[in-house]
């Protein structure tokens, strides 16, 4: 930052930001008010077995573009008749590598 020549120094403020704290909250990157196809509970809420939403009850994205509560999907995949397919479109379930 250079010094002004045309104006006296005293008329400008010299402010330097030392620290900057801003809180933010996050939500799942899904359509608002959309629900998990397995438990019919909102994505932003949690699966029926959890009590608090958030880090403890994450979502999982499939390559088929379907999204579920991770707990719901695991329970489904462990069921004998699931045949490890996505419950929505019956294609073999593959977890998306990274959500875009």
């Amino acid at each position: 930052m250079g010094r002004s020549r045309s104006r006296p120094l005293s008329l400008t403020m010299k402010i330097k930001v030392n620290t900057w704290t801003v809180p933010a909250y996050w939500s799942w990157d899904v359509e608002n008010e959309d629900v998990c196809g397995i438990c019919q509970v909102a994505y932003d809420a949690c699966c029926p077995t959890c009590t608090v939403p958030g880090d403890g009850c994450p979502l999982i994205w499939g390559e088929c573009s379907h999204v579920f509560h991770m707990h719901c999907l695991i329970k489904w995949l462990n069921a004998p008749n699931s045949q490890e397919q996505c419950p929505m479109d019956r294609t073999p379930w593959k977890t998306a590598a990274a959500h875009s």
């Binding site: 930052m1 008329l11 403020m13 030392n18 620290t19 900057w20 704290t21 801003v22 809180p23 958030g54």
Partner: protein
């Protein structure tokens, strides 16, 4: 030897006289017979000694009995008239003994009794006609009695032989002493006016003492002793005594309960109970009267006036914190089983005083402190004066619960804010222990609140602010408060709050991985760096969106003023505004320019500018000067700014609650309650299938943990019917049916 010695035969002597012809009366009979038997053994010659009876039976002198009695009577008279007894007492004793030996005891007893009876009559006559009154009369009575007793002792001594032989062996007649008492007793019973004069006179003296004069209590003691000795105490004395006592205390009670103030009155009653129950009983009243006497005093001074005492005395005594008197009141009223009434007054008084604290809106800012102080005061009264009585403690809890909830929602909100103010940093007045005990006390108030959800909502919001703005005084205190609430309301209540602490921890871990090395940023670059962080966050957490809470952002900035360097703690909005003045191209900015450059909405911006130019630390100058910010104002850098401290907190506005925020929090609570009502209705209907309106309402009131109005419930039912969760019964429109 005189004639008298002839008659003075001992019984053994007389018997021997009839059998043996030994006539020398002076010989001792025993030695004589020994001598005889000795002779019989030593002399061998059988010389017969014939013993014959008297030819003539020895005779008593013809008027022996009367003459002897005359002498005895003279002696009795002498004793009764306080004169010298003419003969030696031993002689008199012997005479009595002889009469008894000659089987004249019966008549002797009758004669003696007659003499005594006459004497008693005379004495009591004298007393009856005695013109003296009051104490002087009573003293005469007492003296008469004392004399009579002494005389009877004397007479009995003379007639002891009679008393020990004839009287003991014959049934149905009194011993001489008892005979004396009996004569006096029956005579006194006949002389009713004399008796009443003594009784009433004695009670008059007692009344005098009750009125505060000193009396001769030994006189009273001896008078009452008379009645006790004559077994007339219960029959003659006690009843009038108790009656007059009752009259006395009835009039005293009625007078004093109005004229004295309650503290004095209660102390007076206490004093009276001590006087009657201890002093009077010890001094002269028979202890058997104690229970009746005490009961009377209690009845007249306390029981009759319980309502007056409580009405007039309780509230002022409680307000003035007169623990000693309250304790006395408790003790006295417990004697007359009026504690329930006392408790009612206690309850009403608490409700009234507490209700005044809670409902007075002008005192909202100090409500919680007042409540805490009031609770502490009542607690100490409960402990010191009401003997830790658990019923009183229950009443206190009921009263607190009732008045705290007499105003909805506000007390809960204020308690939450009070806790916030104590847990915020900068509150260095209290030590850890003090803070801890304060929190405990606040929690007791919290326990009384019905709508705990309101407390939770405000507490949660304030906790978030404390954590996000780094304003929490101590994480230990926060955690301790949290665990207190957890024990109080269960883990469900605090799980969200605990989540916040977890978030803060997560965030700290995250931030240790993220460093912005360029901290010297102009305002328009700030958005850039937010973007940088966002990308960083996304790389760590897949599938999330980030929403910035800029209104809660805060910065530490270094500002260089001509008069010194300062470190300012400012909100993000304040920072953005201040950064505008780093720009050297202009020396002042208008309100609208600032608004345009920062994009902060009006209300927030004017608050921000106000805090920078009109607060305690004015780092900006406003033109024209003034306390309020208008859209026509212009602002410039204050180059003359000085402050005594190096570190300045200008961001306190962030902690302040705005009106909108308050409304939002409340509405959140109400919204939440609606859902809970809906859920409860559906839950009940699902199990019951069909239910009448009133039954449904009743079950709801049982299930819901916050106060609800019946009209609000009706609205929710309507809404549920619209949404087809339930329907009205077709035949009975006041009943509902659940629709699966």
């Amino acid at each position: 030897m005189s004639q008298r010695s002839d008659s003075d035969h001992s019984p053994a002597n007389v018997k021997l006289g009839f059998v043996t012809p030994v006539t020398t009366p002076s010989n001792g009979n025993t030695s004589n017979s020994k001598l005889l038997s000795g002779n019989l053994r030593t002399k061998a010659a059988p010389k017969k000694l014939i013993i014959r009876n008297f030819k003539v039976k020895p005779q008593l002198p013809p008027n022996y009995e009367d003459e002897t009695w005359d002498r005895l009577k003279r002696a009795v008279h002498a004793i009764q008239n306080h004169e010298k007894v003419p003969e030696s007492l031993e002689t008199l004793y012997k005479s009595c003994e002889n009469l008894c030996h000659h089987k004249m005891a019966d008549r002797l007893y009758t004669r003696l009794r007659e003499e005594c009876e006459k004497h008693v009559q005379v004495e009591l006559q004298k007393l009856s006609s005695n013109s003296k009154t009051g104490v002087f009369f009573l003293e005469t009575v007492s003296q008469t009695w004392a004399d009579y007793c002494n005389q009877m002792i004397m007479i009995r001594s003379i007639f002891l032989y009679l008393d020990r032989t004839y009287v003991l062996q014959s049934s149905g007649i009194f011993s001489l002493w008892d005979m004396g008492l009996e004569l006096f007793r029956s005579q006194l019973l006949q002389e009713t006016s004399l008796r009443d004069k003594i009784v009433e006179g004695s009670i008059d003296v007692i009344t005098t003492e009750r009125s505060g004069d000193t009396i001769n209590s030994s006189l009273l003691q001896s008078l009452i002793r008379i009645f006790i000795d004559l077994s007339l105490y219960h029959e003659v004395f006690e009843e009038p005594f108790l009656r007059r006592t009752q009259l006395f205390y009835r009039s005293e009670g009625e007078k004093l309960v109005h004229s004295l103030d309650m503290a004095e009155y209660l102390q007076h009653v206490d004093q009276r109970l001590k006087e009657e129950g201890v002093e009077r009983i010890n001094a002269y009243i028979d202890p058997s009267s104690k229970p009746k006497l005490i009961k009377l005093v209690e009845a007249e001074l306390l029981e009759r006036h319980v309502d007056t005492i409580l009405e007039k005395g309780f509230q002022p005594l409680l307000e003035d914190n007169r623990k000693d008197i309250l304790a006395l009141m408790y003790r006295l009223l417990s004697r007359v089983h009026a504690l329930d009434k006392l408790r009612t007054y206690f309850f009403d008084s608490l409700k009234k005083t507490g209700g005044a604290i809670v409902t007075d809106e002008s005192r909202d800012s100090t409500m919680v402190q007042s409540l805490l102080a009031y609770k502490q005061k009542i607690d100490s009264i409960l402990a010191d004066t009401f003997d830790h009585n658990s019923q009183f403690a229950n009443s206190m809890r009921e009263a607190f619960e009732s008045f705290i909830n007499s105003r909805q929602n506000k007390p809960a909100e204020l308690i939450a804010k009070f806790v916030d103010s104590r847990l915020r940093s900068g509150n260095k007045t209290a030590t850890d222990e003090e803070l801890e005990s304060l929190l405990d006390r606040v929690l007791i108030l919290f326990r009384f609140i019905h709508g705990k959800d309101v407390f939770e909502a405000f507490y949660k919001r304030d906790l978030a602010k404390r954590l996000l703005l780094g304003k929490s005084a101590s994480i230990d205190a926060e955690k301790s408060m949290l665990s207190k609430m957890k024990t109080e309301c269960g883990p469900g209540f605090t799980s969200k709050l605990e989540g916040m602490f977890k978030d803060i921890d997560i965030s700290r871990d995250l931030m240790s991985n993220f460093k912005l090395n360029n901290l010297f940023i102009p305002y328009d670059k700030m958005a850039n760096s937010q973007e940088v962080f966002k990308n960083f966050y996304m790389s760590k957490h897949n599938g999330r969106r980030l929403m910035w809470q800029n209104n809660l952002g805060h910065c530490v900035v270094k500002a260089t003023f001509p008069k010194g360097k300062k470190e300012l703690l400012v909100s993000l909005f304040q920072t953005v505004v201040l950064l505008l003045f780093n720009d050297q191209k202009r020396d002042h900015l208008t309100y609208n320019e600032i608004k345009e450059l920062t994009n902060i909405e009006d209300k927030e911006l004017s608050r921000t500018l106000q805090s920078l130019a009109c607060g305690n630390s004015r780092v900006l100058k406003k033109n024209p000067p003034g306390r309020d910010v208008n859209s026509s104002d212009t602002f410039s850098y204050n180059e003359t700014f000085t402050a005594s401290l190096y570190r300045l907190k200008i961001n306190t506005i962030q902690l302040k609650e705005t009106v909108e925020e308050n409304t939002r929090t409340r509405e959140g609570v109400f919204q939440d309650r609606q859902y809970q009502v809906d859920a409860a209705i559906v839950r009940i209907m699902k199990t019951r299938k069909s239910l009448s309106h009133n039954m449904l309402i009743n079950e709801l009131f049982e299930q819901l943990r916050f106060p609800v109005k019946a009209t609000d419930i009706k609205k929710r039912i309507e809404s549920l019917i619209d949404r087809e969760y339930m329907e009205r019964e077709s035949e009975d429109s006041s009943s509902y049916r659940y629709l699966a």
